[in-house]
C-alpha cells in the first residue's frame, strides 16, 4: 500500500515538473529563425505585387501567414534609428513594391539599391505594398 502511494506521488511530481517545463518552454519561445524553414512560395517581387493588385482576397488566402521567398531588385533600404531594417523590392510597371522588414541581427551589408536580392520571410498582407516580416537574406551575394 505504502509503495503504491510512493509511486503515485512520484508520478504526480513528474507530471507537475514536466507540465511546468512545457509551459515555460512555450511561454519563452522566440519567433523562429526562417533559415531552416522551407518556403511555401518562391516568387519574384513583380509577380507577388501583381497577384495582390489583381485580386487581394485571393492573394491574402494564398500568401498571408505563409513563408515566401521573394526575389527582386532593391528599390531602397530604410532604417529608423536602431529599429528594424526595411528593404523595398521593385515591382516592374507597378505602383506598389514589396517591403521586407528583416529579422533582428540580419545584415544588409554588401547590397545596395539596383542590385537583386532574395529574401525569405512571412507575408503579413497588403497595405500600399506587399509586406513581409522576419526576413532573412538567402541570396549568397548581390546578383
Amino acid at each position: 500500500m505504502r509503495n503504491i502511494s510512493k509511486i503515485l506521488i512520484i508520478i504526480l511530481l513528474f507530471l507537475v515538473v514536466t507540465g511546468a517545463a512545457v509551459v515555460v518552454y512555450f511561454y519563452t519561445l522566440r519567433a523562429g529563425d526562417l533559415r531552416s524553414v522551407n518556403p511555401d512560395h518562391i516568387i519574384s517581387s513583380t509577380e507577388l505585387v501583381k497577384e495582390f493588385e489583381e485580386n487581394e482576397t485571393v492573394a491574402n488566402s494564398k500568401f498571408v501567414n505563409k513563408i515566401i521567398e521573394v526575389t527582386g531588385k532593391i528599390e531602397s533600404i530604410n532604417q529608423i534609428e536602431s529599429e528594424g531594417l526595411n528593404i523595398s523590392l521593385e515591382a516592374e510597371n507597378r505602383v506598389s513594391a514589396v517591403i521586407c522588414t528583416l529579422a533582428d541581427g540580419e545584415d544588409i551589408e554588401g547590397y545596395e539599391p539596383g542590385q537583386e536580392i532574395t529574401i525569405r520571410g512571412e507575408c503579413s498582407g497588403y497595405l500600399m505594398d506587399v509586406l513581409i516580416n522576419r526576413g532573412i537574406i538567402v541570396s549568397e551575394e548581390p546578383i
Partner: protein, 181 residues
C-alpha cells in the same frame, strides 16, 4: 489594391493649390506595456502615412500582422485572441496637426505640435489628442509622438489568466521619416 492608395490620398482632403504632401511607407510604431510581472514591446516598421503640411492633415495605416514581438506566443495571442487580425487586419489614424499655422516649414528645426484625430482599432473609433514634434530637414520631415491607449476602449478583452501581465494602459510611440511626394 490601388483603391486603398487612392483612398489614402483622398483622405488628405481639401488641398489648397500650394499643397505640400509628404509620404512614408517605412514608418515606425511600437507599443509598450509595463507591469511588475512583465514588460511587453511590439514593433511595426511598415507604417504607411501621408502628411499634408499645408492643412496639417495626416493619415496613418498599419497591418496588425506587421507588429512583431520578442516571444512567438505573445505574437500569436495578440493576433488571434486580442486583435483578431484575420477579422480586423488594419488599424488607422486620421487626424490633423491643430497648430499647423505655427509651424514654418521653410525653417529647419524642431517644432512642437498638437495632434488630434480618430484612431480605429478593431473597427472601434476613438478620439485621440497628443503632443508631438516635427523636425524640418532638407526636403524631409521627422515626426514623433507618444500617446496612451487603453485596450478596454477598443473592446479588447484580456483573459483573467494574463490580466496581471498586460498593463491597463499601453504607451504608443510613433516615429515617421517623411519625404516629399
Amino acid at each position: 489594391m490601388k483603391t486603398l492608395i487612392i483612398l489614402l490620398l483622398c483622405s488628405v482632403i481639401a488641398l489648397p493649390i500650394k499643397a505640400q504632401r509628404y509620404i512614408t511607407k517605412n514608418g515606425f510604431i511600437s507599443f509598450y506595456s509595463h507591469t511588475p510581472l512583465e514588460d511587453i514591446k511590439a514593433d511595426n516598421n511598415q507604417v504607411a502615412s501621408i502628411f499634408d503640411s499645408s492643412t496639417g492633415e495626416l493619415v496613418f495605416q498599419v497591418l496588425i500582422k506587421s507588429f512583431h514581438f520578442e516571444k512567438a506566443l505573445m505574437e500569436e495571442h495578440f493576433n488571434e485572441n486580442f486583435m483578431e487580425s484575420d477579422k480586423f487586419p488594419r488599424s488607422e489614424f486620421k487626424g490633423r496637426v491643430i497648430n499647423i499655422s505655427a509651424v514654418d516649414f521653410e525653417k529647419p528645426g524642431i517644432h512642437e505640435v498638437n495632434v488630434e484625430g480618430d484612431l480605429t482599432i478593431r473597427d472601434v473609433t476613438k478620439q485621440i489628442t497628443t503632443r508631438g514634434t516635427i523636425e524640418i530637414l532638407n526636403g524631409s520631415l521627422d515626426a514623433r509622438a507618444k500617446f496612451i491607449v487603453s485596450p478596454e476602449d477598443y473592446g479588447i478583452k484580456i483573459p483573467a489568466v494574463v490580466r496581471n501581465n498586460i498593463a491597463r494602459t499601453i504607451e504608443v510611440t510613433v516615429i515617421m521619416k517623411y519625404s516629399l511626394m
